[in-house]
C-alpha cells in the first residue's frame, strides 16, 4: 500500500463521514440513525488514523507527497503538499477532535447535525494544512470558519449567538482583505500556488515593491486574525467561552493553530515573509503577557480559559515568528519551529483537558462564576463521581499549563523559552508564566471546600449527567496524554524535529548537546526557575485578591469592549503590518 494513493484520506474521509451522517438524518430514525451516525464518525475520525500510521515512515524519511489535485496542469490546478508539518498538525487535530467528540456524547451537543458539522470542520483543518495554493487556502479557511461559527452557536444561549455573530462578521471581513491581498499577488505574478507566487515575485524588480508587501500584509493579517494574536484577538474570548464545552476544546486546542502553521508555508517562501514573521513574533510575546493579565481579571471560568488560550498562542506565535525570521534551513530556526509545534500540541492537549474538566464542573454545579463557586469537588462527588476523575484531570491540566514538572506544559514551555533565550521575547514569556500560575491558583479555588451553608448548597446545586462515561473516557485520555507527553518530552521533541525535517534534520542537529533534551530540561537552573515562577505566582495571586488588586482587575474586566472595536483593531493591525513591511 502506497501512502501516495491515500494522501487525501484526512480530507475526504471526514467529508464522507459527514455525508453518511446527513443520509442517516434524512432517511432513518431512532436506532438505525444512531448506528449510522456513529459509523460516519468512525469513518471520519477513526479511519484517517490508519493513513497516519501508514504514512509515518514516509514523513520520517523526509519524504513528502505533492502534486496537483485531479492531475491538472500545474498552472491551472490546485497544488497540495503532504509533508511532516501536515502530518503533525493532522495528528494534533484528530486527537483533540476525537476526544472532544466522545465528550460530546455525554455532555452534548448531540445529534447528527452536530456530528456532521464537526466532521466538516475536521476535514477543513486537514485541507488547510495540506494546500499549497493561496486561493485554496482561502476556501479552506472559509469552510473552517463557517463550520466553527455554526458550532460556536450550537449552545442555546443567546450569548453564544452574539459571540458567533461577532466572530463571523470580523472573520468574514478579514477574509475579504485576504481576497484583496490574493488579487495583488495574482496581478503581480499571474499564478496562485505558493511556489509560483514566490518565484514570480523574485523575478520582478524589487520583489514586486510595495504592492507585493501590502498584499502580503493583507494575507498575513487575515490569517493572524484567525490565530487571535494581540490586536486581533477580540472575537475569541466570547466565542470560546460561550460555545459548548466539547467545541471550546477543539476551537481553543486546534482551530487557532492550524491557520498559523498553514501560514508558515506562505511566509517561508515569500521574500518579505521573514519580516512579517518577525513582527508577528513581537506581537505574540506581547499577547502572551497582556492576555494573561486580562485572564487573571475574569470571573467566568470558561472565559478565563479562553484568555489563557490567547496567552498560550502568544507563546507559540513568538517562537513561530522567530522561526520564520531565521528560516527553517538554519538549526535555530528548526528548533524554534519544533518548539512552537510542541507547545501547540501540548497546549491542545492540556487546554482541551481543562475545557472539558471545567465544563463538566460548571455543568454539574450550574455556576460559572469563580468568585461564588466553591466546593465543586464535593458537588462532583455528590453527583455520582466515585473516583474524582474530573478533579484529578483538572489538576493535571492546571499543573501542566502552569509549567510544573513532570507534566507536558513544563517540557514544552521550557523548550520554548530555552530556544528564545537570547531574544527580548524571553522576558515577556517569563512574566506571562507567573501570571498563568496565579490565575490557575485563582481558578482552582472553585474546588476548595465551601466555607458555610454547605448543606444548603449541595442540596440545590448539582445536576447529574445521564451517561457520564464519555466525559471520563475523554478526560482520562487527554490527561494520560498530558502525563505521557511530559515524561516523554525529550523523545517527542526529537521526533517532532525528525518528522518536520526528515532525516536531514537529525544530522543538522547532531552537534553536541542540542538534540538530546533531557540535560536541557531538568537542570537545576530550570527547576529553580519553575520554583520561582510558582512562588511569584502565589504572590501575584495574593496581590490579585487583595482589595487594591481586585479593584484594578475589575477595571480591566469591565473595560469597554464593543463590536466595532474588533474591526478598528483589525484595520489598524493590518496597516501596522503593511507599514512595518514597507519601511523596515
Amino acid at each position: 500500500m502506497n501512502p501516495e494513493n491515500f494522501v487525501f484520506a484526512p480530507v475526504v474521509l471526514p467529508l464522507l463521514g459527514a455525508a453518511v451522517i446527513f443520509c442517516a438524518k434524512a432517511f432513518l430514525k431512532n436506532r438505525p440513525e444512531k448506528v449510522l451516525e456513529y459509523m460516519g464518525v468512525f469513518i471520519g475520525l477513526g479511519l484517517p488514523w490508519l493513513f497516519f500510521l501508514q504514512s509515518l515512515p514516509l514523513v520520517l524519511s523526509g519524504g513528502s507527497v505533492q502534486g496537483v489535485v485531479g492531475s491538472w496542469y500545474a498552472g491551472v490546478g490546485i497544488m497540495y503538499r503532504f509533508d511532516g508539518l501536515a502530518w503533525l498538525v493532522n495528528i494534533l487535530g484528530y486527537s483533540v477532535a476525537g476526544a472532544a467528540w466522545i465528550y460530546s456524547l455525554s455532555a452534548g451537543p448531540r445529534g447528527p447535525s452536530f456530528s456532521s458539522v464537526f466532521l466538516i470542520q475536521t476535514s477543513a483543518l486537514a485541507a488547510a494544512i495540506m494546500t499549497a495554493d493561496l486561493f485554496n487556502l482561502f476556501v479552506c479557511l472559509e469552510v473552517l470558519g463557517i463550520a466553527s461559527y455554526v458550532l460556536a452557536a450550537e449552545s442555546d444561549k443567546p450569548g453564544a449567538s452574539l459571540a458567533s455573530f461577532s466572530y463571523l462578521m470580523v472573520s468574514a471581513a478579514a477574509m475579504v482583505f485576504f481576497l484583496i491581498g490574493l488579487y495583488g499577488f495574482y496581478r503581480l505574478t499571474g499564478t496562485l500556488s505558493y511556489e509560483g507566487i514566490a518565484a514570480g515575485l523574485q523575478a520582478l524588480p524589487d520583489s514586486g515593491g510595495p504592492a507585493a508587501l501590502i498584499s502580503l500584509a493583507l494575507v498575513t493579517a487575515a490569517v493572524a486574525m484567525r490565530v487571535a494574536v494581540m490586536p486581533l484577538y477580540g472575537w475569541l474570548p466570547d466565542a470560546h467561552a460561550m460555545a459548548p464545552h466539547a467545541v471550546s476544546a477543539v476551537l481553543s486546542g486546534v482551530l487557532i493553530k492550524t491557520p498559523l502553521f498553514a501560514l508558515s508555508r506562505v511566509l517561508l517562501l515569500m521574500p518579505a515573509g521573514a519580516d512579517a514573521g518577525r513582527l508577528m513574533g513581537f506581537a505574540g510575546a506581547a499577547t502572551a503577557l497582556a492576555a494573561v493579565i486580562i485572564a487573571l481579571s475574569q470571573k467566568d471560568a470558561k472565559r478565563l480559559l479562553a484568555y489563557h488560550s490567547i496567552s498560550q498562542i502568544g507563546y507559540i506565535v513568538s517562537a513561530w515568528g522567530a522561526a520564520m525570521y531565521l528560516g527553517t534551513e538554519t538549526k535555530e530556526g528548526i528548533m524554534l519551529m519544533a518548539a512552537a509545534f510542541l507547545h501547540a500540541l501540548y497546549h491542545a492537549l492540556f487546554k482541551g483537558l481543562l475545557f472539558l474538566s471545567i465544563g463538566t464542573t460548571v455543568d454539574r454545579t450550574q455556576n460559572r462564576n469563580i468568585y461564588t463557586l466553591r466546593g465543586a469537588a464535593a458537588v462532583l462527588r455528590n453527583t455520582g463521581e466515585k473516583v474524582p476523575i474530573t478533579l484529578i484531570t483538572f489538576i493535571i491540566g492546571a499543573l501542566a499549563i502552569s509549567a510544573i514538572p513532570p507534566f507536558n506544559g513544563f517540557a514544552s514551555k521550557t523548550v520554548l523559552t530555552y530556544t528564545l533565550k537570547e531574544s527580548p521575547h524571553y522576558y515577556f514569556l517569563y512574566a506571562a508564566s507567573i501570571g498563568t500560575t496565579a490565575s490557575f491558583i485563582k481558578l482552582s479555588r472553585i474546588f476548595w471546600p465551601a466555607k458555610q451553608e454547605k448543606g444548603k448548597k449541595e442540596k440545590n446545586a448539582g445536576s447529574s449527567v445521564q451517561n457520564p462515561w464519555g466525559l471520563y473516557i475523554s478526560q482520562s485520555f487527554l490527561g494520560l496524554l498530558c502525563i505521557i507527553g511530559g515524561l516523554g518530552a525529550p523523545a517527542m521533541y526529537t521526533f517532532v524535529i525528525d518528522v518536520m525535517t526528515g532525516s536531514g534534520g537529525g544530522e543538522l542537529l547532531a552537534n553536541p548537546g542540542s538534540t538530546s533534551l533531557s540535560p536541557v530540561l531538568y537542570t537545576l537552573d530550570n527547576l529553580l526557575k519553575t520554583g520561582f515562577i510558582a512562588i511569584a505566582g502565589l504572590g501575584l495571586f495574593f496581590l490579585a485578591v487583595s482589595r487594591r488588586g481586585s479593584a484594578v482587575l475589575t477595571k480591566i474586566r469591565e473595560r469597554r469592549r464593543n463590536f466595532h472595536g474588533l474591526f478598528v483593531s483589525f484595520a489598524l493591525g493590518t496597516a501596522a503590518l503593511a507599514a512595518w513591511l514597507c519601511f523596515i
Binding site: A153, K157, S161, A173
Partner: protein
C-alpha cells in the same frame, strides 16, 4: 481607473456600514458590499487582458483571463453561505433580545450573562406562550405591535 475608484467607494461604504451602523442587518449588508467589491475587483482585473468570452473555440481570440472568474464563482458561493448564516444568527438574536440594535442585544445578553440570559429566555418563552394563546383565540393582531415596541 474610474472603475477602481468606484470599487474603492463601494468597499468603503460597506466597511462604514459594518462599523457605524447599529442595526445588525445593515452590518450584514455592509459585509455583502465589501465582498462584492472584492469580487468585482477580480472580474475587472481579469477583463483587462482581452475582449471576448473565454470559450475555447475556433476564431475566438483575445479572450479575457478566465481564472479570476472561476475563482470568483467560488468566492460568491462562500459569500452567500456566510450571509445566510449571518442572517440566521441575526434572527436568533432578534428572537432572544427583541431587537436588531447591536447595543441593545449586547446589553440583553452580555453585561450580566447569567441573569440576563435566564431573563431573556423567560421573556422569549412568555412571548411565545402569549403568541400561541393569541393564535388560539384567533386574534393575532397584537403581535406586530409588540415587535414595533421592541424596535423602538
Amino acid at each position: 481607473m474610474i472603475e477602481r475608484l468606484l470599487l474603492l467607494l463601494l468597499f468603503l461604504t460597506g466597511f462604514w456600514g459594518i462599523l457605524e451602523k447599529k442595526n445588525i442587518i445593515k452590518k450584514i449588508f455592509g459585509l455583502t458590499l465589501i465582498n462584492s467589491a472584492a469580487v468585482l475587483l477580480f472580474v475587472i482585473g481579469g477583463s483587462e487582458t482581452g475582449k471576448h468570452t473565454p470559450i475555447m473555440e475556433k476564431g475566438i481570440v483575445e479572450i479575457v483571463d478566465p481564472v479570476p472568474q472561476a475563482l470568483m464563482l467560488t468566492a460568491i458561493v462562500i459569500g452567500v453561505c456566510v450571509t445566510a448564516l449571518a442572517l440566521a444568527l441575526a434572527y436568533r438574536l432578534y428572537k432572544a433580545s427583541g431587537s436588531f440594535n447591536i447595543d441593545t442585544i449586547r446589553k440583553a445578553v452580555h453585561d450580566m450573562p447569567e441573569e440576563a440570559e435566564i431573563k431573556a429566555e423567560e421573556t422569549y418563552r412568555e412571548a411565545a406562550e402569549e403568541i400561541s394563546e393569541e393564535a388560539e383565540q384567533e386574534n393575532p393582531v397584537k403581535k406586530p405591535q409588540k415587535e414595533a415596541n421592541n424596535e423602538s
